[in-house]
Assembly symmetry: D2
Homo-oligomer: 359 residues x 4
C-alpha cells in the first residue's frame, strides 16, 4: 500500500496531542503519499515518546510515530505541506506566518475559515474552491477544513442542492464528546444528561454551509455564498465519537422520497474519481434499516470517511427529512484535512508537490 518512503512528501503537523491531533497522527502514520516528519509542539510538550506528551486515547498508538522529531513553531523542518490541528486561539497568526513563508497549510482550525481568500473545502462538495489559493497574497497557501458538524451536513446537502435546488434547511445536531476535545465536559456533568448548547457552533454551521455550497466564479477572488437559509440547534450528548444530525430540507423542485434517496446514494465526486488515498468508496451511504444510522455502529463506515444517512422520509413542514451521521474527528476533522491535502496535491495546488503516479 505504501509508496516508497523516499518518494513520499514530508509533512509537518501543528498540534498532535489533542483529540484531533491524535487522529492526524494515526491517519498520517501509514499514509501512502505523505511522510509525517515533524511534530510541532509547544516546548513543554516535547516529550518522547509522544504518548507521554499527551493522554493518548486512540490505542494502540502507531509504532512508527515514536521516532518522529519534535520541533517548535520557530524552526519547522523543511517541508512544503503543513497540517494544523491547533486550537483557534493560537492557529490564526501562526498559519498566516507559515503561508507567508511559502508553506502550504491545511488547517482544521476555525481562525481563517471565513476569510474571503481562504477556501473552506469539503473535497466532495467544492473542490474547485481550492482555486482561491491562487488569489492569496502569500508565497505559500492556506486551505481550511470546516467545523466538524458542518461537514456531515454539507455532504448530505450537496447532492440534493445539485439535483433539486436547496431553499431552506433545519438541522438539530446530537454531537459527540470528542468534539469538545480532551478537556471537554466532565463525566459528572454528562452522565444521565445532555447539554442543549455548544457555544458558537450554530453560527458556524449556518455560515460555513453557505460558503461551502457557494459558487466561486472563474476569475473571482471570493465565493458567492449559497442562498439557502440554514437554522441549526446544536446539542452535546454522551457519545464518544460520531455526530448525528436530524435534518429537514426544503428543495426548490418537487422530489419523491425515492428520488432523494437515489440522489444521495449515487453521489460520487472528485475524490472518488481521482482515487485519492483517503477518499471513501462512497461519500454517502444510505442505510435501509429504520433505526440507523447509530453513532457506535456506523461511524466507522468507509474507515470513518463515509457519512451515513438514514430515515429519508417526507417532512410536513419543509418537504423532506433525514438523519445523517459522520465521524467527527475523522471525516469531520483530521481525515477531512488529509483528504483536502490529497486533493490539493492532485490538483497541482501545492507548488513543488506532485501526486504519485499510482494515484
Amino acid at each position: 500500500m505504501n509508496t516508497d518512503r523516499r518518494t513520499k512528501t514530508p509533512v509537518a503537523l501543528l498540534g498532535a496531542t489533542g483529540a484531533v491531533g491524535q487522529r492526524f497522527v494515526s491517519l498520517l502514520a501509514d499514509h501512502p503519499w505523505f511522510e509525517l516528519s515533524a511534530l510541532v509542539l509547544r516546548p513543554a510538550r516535547q516529550v518522547s515518546p509522544l504518548a507521554e506528551a499527551c493522554r493518548w486515547i486512540l490505542e494502540p498508538m502507531p509504532e512508527n510515530v515514536a521516532g518522529i522529531d519534535f520541533s517548535s513553531s520557530e524552526e519547522i523542518p523543511e517541508c512544503r505541506l503543513i497540517f494544523s490541528a491547533l486550537g483557534a486561539d493560537v492557529a490564526g497568526p501562526l498559519e498566516t506566518r507559515l503561508a507567508e513563508a511559502g508553506r502550504f497549510v491545511v488547517s482544521n482550525a476555525r481562525s481563517h475559515r471565513m476569510d474571503s481568500r481562504v477556501p473552506l473545502v469539503v473535497p466532495e462538495v467544492n473542490p474547485d474552491h481550492l482555486d482561491l489559493v491562487a488569489a492569496q497574497e502569500w508565497e505559500g497557501g492556506l486551505a481550511t477544513n470546516p467545523n466538524c458538524s458542518t461537514i456531515g451536513l454539507v455532504l448530505a446537502l450537496k447532492p440534493l442542492a445539485d439535483a433539486f435546488g436547496l431553499r431552506r434547511v433545519q438541522v438539530v445536531t446530537l454531537q459527540a464528546l470528542s468534539g469538545a476535545g480532551l478537556g471537554g465536559p466532565s463525566a459528572l456533568s454528562m452522565t444521565d444528561n445532555l447539554v442543549p448548547v455548544i457555544p458558537g457552533e450554530e453560527e458556524k454551521l449556518e455560515r460555513e454551509t453557505g460558503k461551502i455550497l457557494g459558487v466561486l466564479s472563474p476569475g473571482r477572488d471570493a465565493v458567492e455564498p449559497h442562498g439557502a437559509v440554514v437554522s441549526a440547534q446544536c446539542t452535546r450528548v454522551p457519545v464518544l465519537e460520531g455526530h448525528t444530525e436530524c435534518i429537514s430540507v426544503e428543495l426548490e423542485r418537487d422530489a419523491e422520497t425515492a428520488e432523494v434517496i437515489e440522489a444521495l446514494a449515487a453521489f460520487r465526486a472528485a475524490p472518488q474519481e481521482l482515487l485519492l488515498p483517503t477518499a471513501p468508496e462512497r461519500p454517502l451511504e444510505v442505510l435501509a434499516e429504520e433505526d440507523r444510522p447509530q453513532p457506535r455502529l456506523d461511524r466507522n463506515r468507509g474507515a470513518g470517511m463515509t457519512c451515513s444517512v438514514g430515515r429519508v422520509r417526507p417532512c410536513g413542514v419543509l418537504g423532506h427529512k433525514l438523519v445523517a451521521l459522520s465521524h467527527n474527528t475523522v471525516r469531520g476533522a483530521a481525515g477531512g484535512s488529509v483528504l483536502l491535502a490529497e486533493l490539493a496535491v492532485a490538483r497541482g495546488a501545492v507548488e513543488g508537490v506532485a501526486a504519485p503516479r499510482a494515484a
Copy 2:
C-alpha cells in the same frame, strides 16, 4: 397536607409494575384527595410486597403501599376513579369495559387517545376538552393523557398559539430511556450510542398535538384539530429521565424574542387557578442560562410537573426556536394523569366524586 383518610376518594390503578406504573404508585401514595386502594395486576404478578412483583426502580418505595390489595381486572373493588398505566396491547378493551360499567377511567395508554369522543387532555392546555365526556355513550367516562413527548411540546406551544397564532412546528426530540419502559433498550446497545428512531412516536407527536391544541365548540362531540403543521424527528438518548425537545415555530404574527419569552414565562392556566394538588406553581419555567435546560438538572423542577424552557432565540427558517424539557414519567405520564383526574374532579366531570373544600 393530607386530607383525612376517611374523606379521600378511593382509586384503583391498572398496571403498577412498569416505569409509569411505579410513578403512579409514588404519586398516589400520599395524595391529598385520592386513596390508592387497589392495584389491578395480572394474577402472576400479585405478589406481596409490591417490590417483589416487579423490579422497583424508584427507591425508596413508599411504605404505605405495602398493604394495598391486589385485584384482578375481573373484580376491581368499588371505586369510581381508575387510573390506567397499562400497555396499549391490553388497555383498549379493558378501559372501554370499565367505562361501560360506570367507572371513570383516566388513562395513560394510547389506545383511545384519538377516539373522537375521548378527550386527550393536558390540564393547562385544553381543560375544556373534558366536556367531551358528556358526549360519551358509556355510563362512566374515559379521559386520556397524551404521549410523553407530546406533553412537553404542547405546554410550550400553547402560550405561543394563544398569543401569536401558530402555523408550523418542527421538533426534534432527545428522549430518555424510561420512556421505553423497564424492558427498554439494552445497555449494550445504548452505551456510547443513541438511536435515531422511536417507532410510531413521530406520528403520535404530530397527530396528538393537533387534537390537544384544537377547539371543542359548545355542543359539538368532537374536537376540531388545530391547523398547525407539525413535523417531528424522535431519537432515544442515554439519559434516564427527561425528554429534551429542540423546537422551531412559525407564528402567525411577528413577535420579538422578548415577547415570546414573556408569553412562555407568564403562562398559568386552570390547574394553577384551581390550586389542584399536583399542579406546579409554574407550568413553564424559562431558564436564562445558555446551557439549560438539562435533563438531570432540570427534570425535577416543580416536582417533575414543570416544563423547563431555554434558549429562546430567532430561527432563520421558521422564526423562533427554543429547547423544552419535561419529565417524561411524571409530567409526561403518571403526573399528567393524576393532574387530569384532579381537574376532572374539580370540574365535576366525575359523577359522585367531589373535590375537597381545602382545594
Copy 3:
C-alpha cells in the same frame, strides 16, 4: 421540624461551591439545630446568588440559601461552629488558625486527619475519640471526617470487630465520579471505561481505618490504632454518586454467615441513641436481594446516611465477604461532618453550644 430560628446555632461553611460544599449547603439549609449564616468563599466567587458562583449540580438549590452572606476567610462572622469543605491544598493552615482563634472546626479535608491530637470520627464507630479535642492546644477545637471511601468500610467493619474481632481486611472499591469533585475525569475518558486507580486513596483507606477503629484510652492524647491489616484497591467507575466496596474479612473468632448478618443488621450506636437529627434510623441496612446494593437504587437509603450491605457470604480465603455501599457526598462527606458536629454538640465538646432539648 425546625427549631425556632432564634435558637439555632449560627454556623459558617468554608467552601460551598464544590460537589461536597453543595451537599453541605443542602443539608444545612433546613437543619433543626444549625443556621447557615456565612459562606466563606474566595473573593472571586462571592457572587450572588450562590448558583452563579458555581456550577450548582444538586437541583433545585434550597431557596433560603439565596440570602446568606459571603465572607472572606479573614473576617468570618461570629460563630463557634465552622464546617470545612475546602480542598486539602488550602484547608490545613486555615483550619489551624481558626481553631487557634477559638472556633470549633469540623472538617472534611484530609489535612489534619492523621494528626495525633485530631480526632478522626465516624459518629457511630468511635464517638469517644472526640475526647481528643480536650487535649488540643488550641482555644477552639478541630475534628475531622474520614475519606469518603473509608466511611462505608468502617461502618461495615465496626460491628464485626466488636462481635468477632477483626484480623485482616481486603477491599476493592468501585467509586463514584462525584468523589473526584466537579473538575473530575472527563466524560471522554469515562464513557465505556473505568480507571483502576485513585491516587492516594488506597493509603488513606488503609491508614484511616486503623485510626478510627483504634482505641483512645482515658487520659491518653493519641489513639492506639487497631491492629487489623487492611489492603485496598480503589477504582473509579462511571456512576454519579455512591461508592461500592467489595470487602473480605478475616475475623478472630469463627462466625456463621447468619451471625455476621445479625451483627450488621442489629448495629445501632450513639447517634441513634442520642436521636441526632442527621442520624439515620439504621446506620447499616442488610439487603436480602442477591443483586443489591446498587448505587442508584440504594444510595439514598436513610436520606443518604445509611450504608447498605448485601451479599454476605463465606469467603474461601479470609472467611467472610460482603458488598457495602454508601453515599459518598452525603454519608461519606457532608452528611458525615454534619452528624459529627451534632455529636460534638450533644457531647458538650463545643464550648458555648448546647443541643436543643428537643433532641
Copy 4:
C-alpha cells in the same frame, strides 16, 4: 496472509448471532487455516444476509460472510472441526452428540467444562490438558474454553504459580456488558449504576481456575486441580467490552515486586512458540502507567488477545496485588476458542486436520 482457500480446513459454527457468536464470525472470516463454511442456526434464524438474522453489533460485518450456508444442527455439512458459541441451555447434549459422531468440538459453553474427561484449556496455560481428548470415549473430541472472567485471571496467575508457587487468590471483577450477551441488562438499569453480582460467575471463576492450573499426569484421565484457594466477587459495570480484575495473591515463596513484574512480562508459552495465527506476541503486557489498564484503552492490545496487567504492588494482606484486563469476547471467548482450535490442530489432536506448513 491467507492460505489458499482450497487448502483451508472447513469449520462450522454453532450459534452465530449472539455477542460471542458474532466475534467468532469476525475472527473466522479471514482466518489463515480455517474456512467458515457453515453457520448452524435455529431454523427461525436462517435468514440471509446474516445481519438480518440478528442484531449485528460488530460493524462492519465481514463481507465474505454473506455467502455462508446456514444449516440446522441435524445436518451439519461435512467438516471435522466445529466451534460452539451456543448457550449452555442447548449446548450440552448437542456437543456430546457431535463428538460421538466424530466431530471435534471446541466449545465456549459451560456445559462440559468441568467434566473430568473434557479439557478446559487456556492455550498459554495448560496446553497439555488437550491430551485428555485421547481418553474420551467418543469417536470425535471435545475441548472447552473457560468462562470469560477466568481466562484473564489464569493468564495472570500462571507465571506466578510457575515462578513462586501459588497459595491463595482474592479477585474482584468489574465485568463488561457484552459478557451478559445481547439480551443483557437494560440501559435503564445500568446508567449511573452497577450491579454487584453475576449469578453463578463466582463459582465458575473459583472452580475453573483450579482445573486449568491443575496437573494432568501422564496416563491419567483426569486433571488434579491446583490446590490454591480462590475467592471471587463479581460485579457488572457499564463498560462495553473488557473485564477488569483486581487481584491479590499469596505466593509460596517470597518475591519482590520487581520479580513479580518480571515473571509476568517474560511470560511466553506454547502458542507463541508454535506461532499460532491467533496467538498474540505477548500473552501478558505489563503497563507502567499508574492508571492502567483501562478497558477502552487497553482491551484491544494484541488484537484483543493480550491480557494487560498493571499496578503490580505489595498487598498487606496476601503479599502482592495487581490489576488485569482482558477482552472478554475475544480473549475471553471466541478468540480463546479459535486459539484453542489452532493449538489442537498444531498438536495433532484433531484427527485428519493438519496445520499448514507455513505455521
